[in-house]
Symmetry: C2
Subunit: 275 residues, 2 copies
């Protein structure tokens, strides 16, 4: 391979841009467009405007396909539906991919590759398990925010096709990484042992995954009358909020009600630490 | 009305059992079966076994319909599909309801009525806002666990039909009750002010709602090798776990790393409370 655009899953092989299509345990590389990405990008010469219908590269075609899959369900979407929505002939879609399931595979991998790149980074890093867990949560929130339509599709996959079942296997691998980190942090005495670690792990990523149901980068959820900020929510603010609630809880540690109830317990803990 | 079975949404009117079907702002009552619930219940005389295909009362018909809606999507399910799955003629379904949308309305109300009965109970109770909020979360987890297929259908409603849009209006009312309670608890100084209360409210019910994705009363999620209990998870254990994580966080308050980092801060808080 000469050049790579791994951010777009694009690789140049013998002068042709290709993308990866998973087949069983390996991937095959398929060519997907007549022009190099540069020719299709916004930096293309303004002196040569395109005529007629807008063209699609695989990336923009995939983005539209995923939107339609999320609206109508993958099973409920035909290539005919996609061709209508894209405003191009079915043959133009087949120029890029062999089947609807290829589009699904590319979309699900977009989500999973994002999550696994965070998991790999965390696995190869040092520090206490609870800090690595927090980095995994924070990174996953960023992946969700940045690849939301792809992650939404992944979370809705029920295993109706080979491609979905393959994605569910990878998703379970990811869940296992989370569960192992939670268990390790519990052995370190950093995560509460009164909740089953498998349940803790599920709740933690239940919280993260539920973001796809309401988070839109451009707007804040509705406030009760008379309160607080409005405007967009950045992914980093969201990641902070998720980590704060998940790791420290929404109850204020120093609140009057809470301290009165737990003062004796805290005294004991503090003494133990300082001795 | 002479007799009522509000647990099944059944009411007796002029000698006939009816159920409520919402129409716009009001409800209409429609008759739905030839026999009283007692005749169809398990207490029916064992001396008179039924012959041929099993009969369905509205309740069991609704349960099957909701299962199919969740599997195939409401839009992707036809009355033909329901009739095949139930093993009865379409006319037998129409004996109970006028349309597929009537079944959807009954199912979504089953979920919403459960959630609002918890909200109403909490609204009419006393105590600090944070305690009422915790009761609301705990009660909602029980509703989710007990009416899971109905709540799952509710959470997937996207507003494609009048009935779904009406359900979404009620769901937003419920979300507003949660947001108002969070804001009140924040004014009381019991909920952390460093997270926007609207985001806190979303995260809190994101956590609760995510249960439908993995919770099955009969089995525990997979454990990392060598750890912890197996067997079913009772709704009360689940409610405890959700409240513990949401309100107190999964980090142990007295852990060495955490206490070392926050000892000074806690000292200050404790002093303030004891003065």
């Amino acid at each position: 391979m000469d050049r790579q655009r791994p951010d777009l899953d694009l690789y140049e092989k013998r002068g042709t841009w290709v993308t990866r299509v998973p087949t069983g345990r390996s991937v095959r590389y398929v060519g997907f467009m007549a022009h190099s990405p540069a020719r299709n990008s916004r930096s293309a010469s303004p002196a040569a405007p395109r005529r007629g219908r807008p063209g699609y590269d695989l990336e923009s075609l995939l983005a539209v396909a995923v939107t339609v899959f999320n609206e109508r369900g993958y099973d409920g979407t035909s290539m005919e539906d996609l061709s209508r929505r894209l405003g191009i002939a079915k043959s133009s879609i087949y120029y890029h991919v062999d089947s609807k399931e290829d589009l699904l595979a590319l979309a699900l991998d977009r989500a999973l590759d994002g999550l696994f790149s965070v998991a790999d980074e965390v696995k190869s890093s040092d520090g206490p398990a609870i800090e690595r867990l927090e980095r995994l949560v924070r990174g996953s929130v960023h992946v969700l925010a940045e690849r939301m339509p792809y992650v939404t599709l992944l979370l809705r996959a029920r295993g109706n096709t080979t491609t979905e079942r393959r994605a569910l296997v990878r998703r379970r691998e990811f869940d296992q990484i989370v569960a192992d980190l939670v268990a390790e942090a519990e052995r370190d005495g950093e995560v509460r042992p009164d909740v089953d670690p498998a349940i803790t792990a599920r709740l933690l990523f239940g919280l993260v995954n539920s973001l796809v149901e309401w988070y839109r980068p451009s707007r804040r959820p509705k406030e009760p009358a008379g309160s607080a900020p409005t405007g967009p929510i950045a992914a980093s603010e969201l990641a902070d909020a998720v980590c704060t609630v998940a790791f420290d809880g929404l109850r204020i540690r120093g609140s009057a009600n809470h301290l009165a109830a737990t003062a004796a317990e805290q005294d004991r803990d503090m003494k133990a630490v300082r001795q």
